[in-house]
Amino acid sequence: MIERPFMTGKKVLVVDDEIHIVHVVAIKLRNNGYEVLTAENGCEGYKIACQEKPDIIVTDFQMPAMTGLEMIEALRKNNETAVIPVIMLTARGFAIEDKQKESLRISDCLSKPFSPKELLRTVEDVLHEAVVMQ
């Protein structure tokens, strides 16, 4: 694996209403040098994203109060959060159409059950791409 030391310390927001999923993702990312923020629904996720301006967001699709897609729509409408890369972690991969994925600028979608290792790689890839694009 290519070493990407510049990723250390990057801020990741993990949004999921399943506390065990949030917990395992957070541990994996923290063990690999990331700072992790968590939220249990889209509404809370949006608020934290606006306040903390994370470098990347990992979010579930179906959540109470505000779904992952609704949260991303809200983020894209806000200038301060419009360009934050988002990875979707969902048990309903088929529910997101390519067109929707493109228009909401969703960087990648991972299906549940997922591999924490694969999620970590995806987070690194997306962040790397974002840095290169800058």
């Binding site: 209403d17 399943e18 065990h20 999923i21 917990h23 395992v24 993702v25 541990i27 994996k28 063990n31 179906q62 109470p64 109060a65 505000m66 779904t67 048990a91 309903r92 529910a95 549940k112 059950p113 997922f114 591999s115 924490p116 290792k117």
Partner: protein
Amino acid sequence: MGGAVSSCAGMVCAFAGVPIFTAAAGIIGIAAAVTAGYAYTCIWNKVEKVSVKLGVPCGAGGALASIENVIEREKVQVDKLRSEVDQLNIQIMLSQRQRRNTEEIIYSIRDAVIVIDEGEQILLANDTLGELFDFDPQAGKGKTVGQVIKCPEFTNILRQSKDSKTRHSKHDITISKPDGARIFSCIISCIYDEKHNICGVVSVLHDVTREKEISQMKNEFVSHVSHELKTPLASITAYAEMLADGEASDEATRTEFYSIIQSQAQRLNRLIEDILNISRIESGLVKISKEPVSITLVIRDSAEMIKSYAAEKNITVHAQTPIVFDQVMADKDMISQVVINLLSNAVKYTPAGGQVSISSEVNEMDNIVRVLVTDTGVGIPVDEVERVFDKFYRVKANNKVAKGTGLGLNLVKQIVEKVHDGRVFVSSKQGQGSTFGFELPLGVRQSS
């Protein structure tokens, strides 16, 4: 009629014959007289088909036989024609009856049926089609489809099928009705004559609205269930990978991961059990072991079980039961599942800090035990209350409050009504809370 007749004996006789007519039946006989020394009178009656001969036979008998032969041949011919006419009349009658039967069959079909000719004129349309397109099928006969059916989608399909000479084709069309749009499966078949030219088109429209709804519900169910199954599975695989990769740095973390894997596996198992239980009850394959069960004890045990879940949301659970005989003949595990499902639902849809109460009452007059579970939760919109016990049904407005499969309440209904001959009911006020309940027949008190 008259003249000379030569007999076989060569004797010339005088002959006088008079045909007998009636206006309705034409010639019905001949009256004849022959004289040659002896008088001979003959009346042939074709109706009775006998010759009545009067007088004394004379030498002119041979001549008379000749006349009789002619008459007989005519008679045979007339009989033959008459028989053919009779046959034709029978055939016409049979054809008419057959046609009436065929039309009756078509009219009695619940699907809408229409038959048009090559000029798009309506040859036949049944009442269902008339109701569907709002016209009188009898009055519509002979008119073109475009004149009476104001549904361009359907008339265009008929025309296209006729023009393209497609033998059979199937289309789904949506027809707007005052009570909402309905979907029809429209099968169109072209009718060909002996020269293989199209001489008509027949179309049958079958209402598939309900089938489409069920199909959509099934798709949603598969989607819900796969999501619900994948969620605990996702935890299990993720924590197992973390353990395998050495991401749990100390013993306490490892223990925590093992514990999560175990609880998620149990959650997965419960979900699968719910699905299987509904399926077993529906198919009648479930094993039921009924015994005297005290509702009070079931309520106490269930309330105790749910308290830790309620405590996570800071919800208090009150249980109130009367000290009376409240035994029912029931499968204890199943009834416990009913009470737990109702309690966990109440907690699930009640905001933090709310209250859930469970109580029972015995109605000795009606010989029933009634259990009520009341919450201070989000409630159910009026137009959806009736559907909450439907399989896979989820209240749309509450989708965002909590996740679910739409199976829990259906399982409650199946257990109470199908297995225990009881009854479930619900009342709710949106924003204020709901009361779910069930009634079971009271068991027979054992004499001591």
